[in-house]
């Protein structure tokens, strides 16, 4: 069976980063959940910090090259995306948003996505539902019902791992129930001229 590709996008800025810690836990839990369903999976992590300057350049030039291009292609070709951001001023970080601004508009349409965030206070928990979900609704992604927020107290124990496992199980169910992702390339299969003329 073709291994499914799970791409984890992490927008943490410090090293080590609690956002990356949460992202890795979600990635590992999703791979384990798929494995238990008999579906092999590969997990790739995209650290947005490494692409910070390239993302700013892409905003200005309109194109992306090199490692950023590879990261965007990985996300666009993934069977599922796990998107994790720190909560900054009540919302996803600017770096996180910039990555999804630069990503091609239809890249995540119909694609399973798990949203998660780290926050300096549990009072930011709703950023997930008030900011992250509308963003991925715009991108027409299939966001799983459980989102995971990790506030400072969550790292001290409690039910974080329960929520991580529940979200991962929901994502694994979506991925296991679908055919592996296949992207059509407009350069390989262009719209014929007769169709272009009819569309006018």
């Amino acid at each position: 069976m073709t291994a499914r590709r799970i791409v984890v996008v992490s927008a943490g800025l410090s090293t080590p980063s609690s956002t990356r810690l949460l992202a890795d836990r979600l990635g590992a839990a999703t791979a384990a959940a798929l494995d238990s369903r008999g579906v092999p999976a590969e997990v790739e992590v995209v650290e947005l910090r490494e692409h910070a300057r390239a993302l700013a350049d892409a905003l200005v030039t309109g194109f992306s090259t090199g490692a950023l291009r590879s990261a965007l292609d990985a996300v666009a070709g993934a069977d599922a995306v796990i998107a994790v951001t720190p909560v900054f001023t009540g919302s996803y970080s600017g770096l996180f948003k910039t990555f999804f601004d630069v990503l091609e508009p239809d890249a995540l349409a119909g694609r399973p996505v798990l949203v998660a965030a780290t926050a300096g206070s549990a009072r930011h928990t709703l950023a997930l539902d008030h900011a992250m979900r509308p963003l991925f609704a715009h991108l027409r992604a299939l966001v799983v019902p459980t989102g995971v927020v990790a506030a400072p107290e969550d790292w001290a124990g409690g039910d974080l791992s329960t929520r991580v496992d529940r979200a991962a199980a929901e994502l694994a169910d979506l991925v296991a129930g679908r055919q592996p992702a296949r992207r059509t390339d407009p350069f390989d299969e262009p719209t014929g001229f007769a169709d272009l003329l009819r569309a006018g």
Partner: protein
């Protein structure tokens, strides 16, 4: 192979002096650049078309008509003529008129324009951009080839028994290029008609340009116009030269750093690595330009952008001297030596279309 320059016609302050040319100065500078292009032995001058500040060339056939009267061999073209917001009837008339005045030294490059607010100023909507390009050109193509045209479509009033005048010179419409940076649909359109495809080859990486050109070539063959290698391809390119490459970099950097479109982004060195921009010696420009055929195949027209971002006219004219004296003569020889037999050396021109007879104009 044809070599030339294309101008956006931007009015941009010179960042080294803070001085902004007047519109009159910029328009006269475009004329001076075109005249110099002919003087130094280049083949083509192409003007942009824009309807918003800070650009001056809103009326390309006025400028090109003036140039027709002041030049003898220069081919007059556009980069690009807006097929979306111009009435195709007016394009048919304006460029046929220009063709007569210029004794056939005319072709044109069609593009869509990417500035949303411009469309409604001309009664259109940017969301219809592709449909406008397809439908308007289908009408333009007929108007140059048929009299008494009956036509009905979405974007303009219907036509009954309409004949656009003057008719194309010698019954041969000007050769048409279709230009697009990233829309495969436009490459398909160019291929369908057997027209030329032009990629601006300035703002995007060569890996992307390669895909657009490959698609056009493949579909040109699919639509029955001949082998893919014989399709008519044009490329842009952006250069700044001094005899000593370090002088070129030092002089161009302040213009690059704040240039419209890509300024305040990647460094000059990064942008040179990522895109076809070449800042250096004439030999470096020769080497880089020859490398374009590695990803675009043997092509027929090379246009250089040399007059944007506030560069003063005297500097631009010096660039033309270098192009004419040191760069283009070598490129002509080298490209010709590399070109396999059977691949067209030049795009169709008025004399070649006349020579080819009616077969060239009826499909």
């Amino acid at each position: 192979m044809q070599f030339g320059v294309f101008s956006v016609g931007d009015v941009t302050p010179d960042p080294t002096t803070g001085r902004t040319p007047t519109e009159a100065e910029r328009i006269k500078a475009m004329v001076a650049i075109a005249l110099k292009a002919e003087e130094v032995g280049l083949d083509v001058f192409a003007t942009g078309e824009h309807h918003n500040p800070p650009f001056v060339p809103s009326s390309p056939t006025t400028l090109l008509g003036h140039l027709a009267g002041r030049t003898t061999s220069l081919l007059l073209s556009t980069a690009t003529t807006l097929i979306t917001t111009n009435d195709p009837v007016k394009i048919a008339e304006d460029y046929a008129m220009l063709q007569h005045l210029a004794d056939g030294r005319v072709d044109l490059m069609l593009g869509r324009g990417n500035t949303g607010p411009v469309y409604p100023w001309f009664g259109q909507d940017i969301r219809d951009g592709l449909a406008l390009a397809v439908q308007n050109y289908a009408l333009l193509h007929r108007l140059w080839r048929e009299e008494d045209v009956d036509w009905q479509g979405r974007f303009r009033t219907p036509l009954q028994g309409f004949t656009s005048t003057p008719r194309p010179l010698d019954g041969r419409p000007p050769f048409v290029w279709h230009a697009s940076i990233r829309s495969p649909e436009i490459a398909e359109q160019a291929a369908y008609y057997g027209d030329g495809f032009f990629h601006n080859n300035i703002f995007w990486p060569s890996s992307h340009v390669r895909r657009m050109v490959e698609l056009y070539r493949r579909r040109f063959e699919h639509h029955g116009h001949g082998p893919a290698a014989h399709a008519i391809v044009g490329l842009g390119g952006q250069v700044f030269m001094r005899k000593n490459s370090q002088d070129a970099v030092r002089e161009f950097r302040p213009y690059f750093d704040v240039a419209p479109v890509y300024g305040h982004g990647p460094s000059l060195e990064e942008f040179m690595a990522q895109t076809p921009l070449t800042v250096g010696s004439p030999q470096q420009v020769i080497d880089r330009t020859l490398s374009f055929r590695d990803y675009a195949g043997d092509y027929q027209r090379q246009l250089f952008l040399i007059d944007h971002a506030g560069l003063p006219l005297t500097t631009v004219l010096e660039q033309l001297d270098l192009l004419g004296e040191e760069v283009v003569p070598v490129l002509r020889k080298e490209f010709a030596a590399l070109r396999p037999a059977g691949v067209p050396e030049e795009p169709p021109t008025h004399p070649s279309l006349v020579a080819a007879g009616t077969a060239a104009v009826t499909r």
